[in-house]
Symmetry: C3
Subunit: 145 residues, 3 copies
């Protein structure tokens, strides 16, 4: 019997960087007893995005940050939308280059992530923000006994 | 009771740029009485893509366009696939860098978009085109009375 | 009557490049008799990604490869995560810039792809790998008689 559920997650960020929230997602699935289905995450912002990336060596995150900082540097004189700060338009660009929503299969109560995959909120602004991720579940629950 | 529905949207473009179609999507949801579920959009082209971005200040769209024009310039001598025009291969690159499908939760008949998020078709070719977006709904209908 | 199904596809790669697997996806749909629904693909790696792109002229794939090689060159001295090889961190960057999951509507047993769209696994590493794609189906089956 298929059913669905909604949830909103709030992630508090302290400046630019990757914030893993794989555990928060897994906890929702576990608490609600979801077994087999599809989980969709949607970040409700235009200057923060979602990323699935390696969660082993933290240098990977440092290097991803360095690459995107070089690709879309703060204070780029190309931009005219500058009223919200030097880091605002680069944040929109970085969001456009990555993802705002993700859909991940769930089997036997586990996200079908690879061994090294973690789910991240990528904060692209330099200051602190409270970011919201809308979560949607569709599938069968209580499959594990 | 869960059900599903399909629809195809046609968006006529007049050259490169971002074309918002949030309202067309919202109208389909409203007309059909969809209440809670998941909406998936898939653009059926390789030189146009989908983007969720700020729909407040139009300068953001101008700057996104400027950034991508600099990143993947028309007439780049790197490319050998040039028979379809100087803007064709850059259009494929821009499509690869953004998204061809999006999945957005819908709750109480409303897309779970953030305050500043709009849904756009990004035309990457310079000439006019008729672009098709396949839409899929799964969820419960008639939830609002 | 809605139902769901899971499947894991293994794609063997022989170095960097785009490997089309549209047929393998279509075959699963056909074998199982899926008619109308939503198909989600999730690649379980952080140095390989998914791409929907032109499957007509192979020069498009050559040019996409050339563009990404220039954008995120192997051996870039910006990176400190280099223990796994010169091509490892560029592979993570390329994965971040493209997609790890895709959701495609299926109608009357056919993927709602455009005429020129093919589904690819993009191997970003230079050596051979065995890549896994988790597939999820939700919808109605046996619709074609």
């Amino acid at each position: 019997m298929l059913g669905q559920a909604f949830h909103q997650l709030t992630i508090r960020t302290k400046g630019r960087g990757l914030y893993e929230f794989t555990n928060e997602v897994a906890e929702w699935i576990s608490e609600r007893g979801f077994a087999n289905g599809l989980l969709t995450l949607h970040v409700q912002h235009t200057s923060a995005s979602l990323l699935i990336q390696e969660n082993a060596d933290p240098d990977v995150r440092r290097d991803l940050e360095a690459f995107f900082a070089r690709l879309a540097p703060d204070g780029d004189r190309l931009f005219i939308h500058t009223a919200e700060g030097d880091d605002d338009m680069p944040a929109h660009v970085r969001t456009a280059l990555t993802a705002v929503n993700l859909s991940i299969p769930v089997q036997d109560g586990r996200l079908a992530l690879g061994t090294w995959q973690g789910v991240y909120l990528w904060e692209h602004r330099c200051s602190s923000h409270s970011r919201h991720v809308a979560m949607h579940w569709i599938g069968e629950g209580k499959g594990r006994t």
